[in-house]
Amino acid sequence: MTRTPPYDLAAARADFPILARPIRGKPLVYLDNGASAQRPSAVIEAERRYAEESHANVHRGVHTLSQRATDAFEGARERVRRFLNARSTREIIFTRGTTESINLVAQSYARPRLQAGDEILVTHLEHHANIVPWQMVCDATGARLVVVPINERGEVDPEDVRTRISSRTRLLGVAHVSNALGTVLPVAEIIAIAHHAGVPVLVDGAQAVPHMAIDVQAMDADFYVFSGHKLYGPDGIGILYGRETLLAEMPPWQGGGDMILHVSFERTTYNELPYKFEAGTPHISGAVGLGAALDYVERIGLENIGHWEATLLDYATQRLSGIEGLRIIGTAAHKAGLVSFVVDDVHPHDLGTILDEQGIAIRTGHHCAMPAIEFFKVPATARASFGLYTTLEEIDCLAEAVIAARELFR
């Protein structure tokens, strides 16, 4: 396999100012992209330019700045529509992030429909954000959470989805990529199975969007959610894509300005899609920054990024498995962007501190996916997650630092 990036990696790294910043006196090796990716100058500049040249509230004023802000905000919505290949901007709702998007669907789509004895289906590898909102609506309605198992490699067999669907299943929530294990799930196949039984599907795309091109029509998702900050964009902004026919039937989740057409004390008429779900002043500059992030990743090319990250994953898997006493957690045939692992005699939390001392940032713990981590009978793992700017040399740094940590605890 060729180990040459399909784009100018040095130039891409130069786009991210923070990568030049030393940490604890060492060059930063940032391998925590699964938690939050860094931002290129293009995103930082877009937000700054918006604040300096165009800011006002959206959808409200007749003055010039309000129109500019509205154009920037709605331009970003159209940018997201193209990114996901949604049919219409009416299907693109701005939220605070993946978590809020899932809560919106749980409260507005699921809760009014659920009756005691109904079922919500999730998989064993979900992030807490794709477990807890469903548990909350189950608690409120008497519905039940049903879990699709994973195998010892951390994979979900679509057949297991088929057998867990019952006549009471009302919705399936499934990750596109596991944040704790790196598994890429066959979501199109899973969605086809669910749809065959008449079950709509929410796909948690938080860990998928930085690594691959997404086409919500091709995969036939009913809801697809992601966050800006894992995609080299700002924090505090995220997306809910929803099939228009479903969104149209859903009641608003929060009430306030912008989501109404007419208000009197007797009766309020709600605004049309997508505004019905965007109460209050939105995170306008965040949306602008997200649009710039999408421009940025598409300029490099998500296929190119995915290709390079596959090389990184291959190399990291090979380097790390060569370390005595190291076990990789999550060995799915199809993985994206990250390696989770444990090392004999070195607790992941100690490893995190020791690596930080070398300027290497990784995530340690249960990665907000306790059931997935507990499945592997470990209390926690160390996780190195890659970005478009990650180099093979950084993987070498990681491997050498892990070996040194093992020496310290010998």
Binding site: P348, H349, D350, T353, G365
Partner: protein
């Protein structure tokens, strides 16, 4: 900063060979402690006789800092009365959290925990066993005062 200041030999030794690992049967009191950030979980057992700690043991799993701190604690508190434990706990808390705190010579081996204060994300690891023993004693007190 040097990692060896955090992972001093005493810490590494107590992590590798924890002292007083195990359980105590009732009437000894047990309390569970959990540090959700890193998944440290331990149970501390304490036997009290007229307000004096006659025996203490712990079991669980966690990072080197939490394990070593628990092990060092069990060695240090045996024989103390609950008031002396409270004073020692306060003194350890200072050492773990205050940059300007002197590390009293009386702390002996416990002084090895002094490196933790340079690593704010690890303070909870080091304090877990102490807070858990505090809870066990409080439980014992509430039980005995019923």
């Amino acid at each position: 900063m040097d990692l060896k200041d955090l992972y001093r030999d005493v810490i590494l030794d107590h992590n590798k060979r924890p002292r007083n690992l195990g359980t105590l049967a009732p009437p000894a009191i047990g309390a569970k402690g959990h540090n959700p950030l890193c998944g440290d979980q331990l149970t501390v057992y304490v036997s009290l006789d007229h307000g004096q700690i006659t025996d203490v043991k712990f079991e669980g799993s966690g990072c080197a800092i939490s394990m070593a701190s628990a092990s060092l604690m069990t060695e240090a508190v045996k024989g103390l009365d609950t008031e002396a434990f409270a004073r020692l706990h306060a003194s350890i808390h200072d050492v773990l959290t205050r940059h300007d705190a002197e590390v009293p010579a009386a702390l002996g081996k416990l002084a090895a925990l002094g490196g933790v204060r340079e690593y704010p994300s690890r303070v909870k690891c080091a304090s877990l066993a102490w807070r858990t023993l505090e809870a066990a004693i409080a439980g014992a007190v509430s039980v005995t005062t019923e």
